[in-house]
């Protein structure tokens, strides 16, 4: 499992395009929004939590099809399917590798972008905490969407259509944590819901994703 994780991370970093691209996209979202809505600090402070979460979500979405597509094309998925490692385990590992190369950089870059968007000071801690808690869920849910569409020739757009509605609860609670944190309110309730979604997705979705992969390999 560890070997698979290291292999996936290496491929993601070395193959180019996947690793830095999500981060660059996140930066671009944070730059584009002030250009669109105007530079008033008060407006930006108000929408910063939502924009940062939506940006993180979209950058995560951008690299999802890489989780399985290349391995599916060159036959590595068939090897994984016949290996002693259960498909559920392989899916979970691949989702975690995706999180380490996409989600984790987003979490660490978010405070810097928070400065660009004039996020109020108490919000930074909760921005990092909520993204660190929420992005694993985004990766696992995304892995499920990628598993559903892996057999299709041009599945990218369809995958977005399938995955975005599934992202909604995570987005709502995640952005709510930052919004409340930035306003200095108690964050425990949305934070607990966010953690629950992540824990539940991590525990259950690999089974659904593995089922979808098996169907697609048939």
């Amino acid at each position: 499992m560890i070997a698979l994780m290291i292999r996936d991370m290496r491929l993601a970093v070395r193959a180019g395009g996947g690793f830095g691209l999500g981060l660059a996209f996140f930066l671009l979202v944070a730059v584009i929004v002030p250009l669109g809505v105007g530079p008033e600090p008060a407006t930006l402070a108000k929408i910063a939590p939502g924009i940062l979460w939506v940006g993180a979500l979209l950058s995560c979405l951008l690299s999802l099809d890489r989780i399985f597509a290349l391995d599916f094309e060159d036959g590595s998925m068939d090897l994984l399917a016949t290996s002693p490692l259960p498909m559920e385990g392989a899916v979970a590992v691949k989702a975690m590798a995706h999180w380490l190369v996409t989600g984790l950089p987003l979490v660490s870059a978010a405070p810097v972008l928070g400065v660009l968007l004039n996020l109020p000071l108490p919000g930074y801690l909760w921005l990092v905490v909520s993204l660190a808690l929420g992005t694993p869920a985004l990766s696992v849910i995304g892995a499920f969407g990628a598993a559903l569409t892996v057999g299709l020739k041009r599945g990218g757009l369809l995958m977005s259509l399938l995955v975005l509605p599934l992202y909604m609860p995570t987005l709502i609670f995640g952005a709510e944590v930052v919004k409340r944190g930035a306003a200095g309110l108690a964050v425990a309730t949305p934070l607990a819901f966010l953690a629950a979604i992540t824990a539940g997705s991590l525990a259950l979705l690999p089974f659904a994703a593995a089922a979808a992969i098996r169907v697609n390999l048939r």
């Binding site: 259509l161 975005l164 509605p165 909604m168 709502i172 609670f173 979705l205 169907v215 697609n216």
Partner: protein, 242 residues
């Protein structure tokens, strides 16, 4: 004699062919009675005027939008567990109907909201969760259309229906948390203290029954169409081989 006999396509075609004219007639009858009763024979409500009459479309459509998804969830589970093709095809047949009910619910709500709330759309929890439900229907239908092999498509959409149900349910409660609503609370429940008065309630019941029958009719027709198109494809494949 068990319910699984109807999973045999031939038996299903026989039974549904026999039932279809009756269900169609009944649904036309109840819809005409319910809508005419509701639209023309009930008094205007004192605060809302005649706009209140849109509930005879709005409420049944919204109820059926949720029921259709539930039916798809059940038939998807049956397909995954017992591999009955009729079940998978019924789920496929129900999806566009459910989407249309969702859209009718949203549109009639907007038409009512404009004079009453002063806005076509508000980010109210119920409205938002219905919009999300519509997106789930869209994704489900798109996945059916995209996958070529029918058995693969049935498997993948069934898994999506199960996972989607969980997340649709989560979204429904997440949006409650996210914003306060304009939409009124439940007023048709059997256990609530304050309900809609009987003058509106009785024709509404007839309309709901009409929408249920309409849904059954449409699902039967569409499932029969799907089964026939499978038969045609099987015949074409056999011709090619011969």
């Amino acid at each position: 004699m068990s319910i699984w006999e109807y999973a045999n396509p031939k038996k299903f075609m026989q039974t549904s062919g026999f039932l279809l004219p009756w269900v169609t007639g009944l649904s036309v009858l109840t819809l005409v009675v319910g809508l005419v009763w509701g639209f023309f024979l009930t008094p205007d409500a004192d605060k809302f005027g005649s706009t209140v009459k849109i509930i005879y479309l709005h409420v049944p459509a919204a109820m059926m939008a949720i029921s259709a998804w539930t039916m798809m969830l059940v038939t998807s589970l049956i397909w995954l567990v017992r591999r009955h093709h009729v079940s998978a095809l019924a789920a496929k047949a129900a999806a566009p109907i459910g989407l249309m009910f969702t859209v009718i619910g949203l549109v009639t709500g907007a038409i009512w909201g404009q004079p009453m709330w002063g806005t076509w759309w508000a980010w109210d929890p119920r409205l938002t969760s219905f919009l999300i439900l519509a997106l789930f229907y869209l994704g489900y239908i798109a996945l059916w259309e995209a996958v070529e092999n029918p058995d693969t498509a049935a498997d993948l959409t069934s898994v999506l229906a199960i996972v989607g149900s969980v997340f649709a349910f989560l979204s429904r409660y997440a949006v409650l948390f996210w914003n306060q609503g304009l939409h009124q609370g439940a007023s048709l429940s059997l256990d609530a203290k304050e309900n809609v008065s009987d003058v509106y309630w009785l024709p509404l019941l007839v309309c709901i029954a009409g929408f249920v029958l309409l849904f059954v009719t449409l699902v039967l027709i569409r499932t029969r169409t799907e089964i026939r198109s499978r038969r045609v494809q099987a015949l074409i494949a056999r011709e090619r081989l011969a």
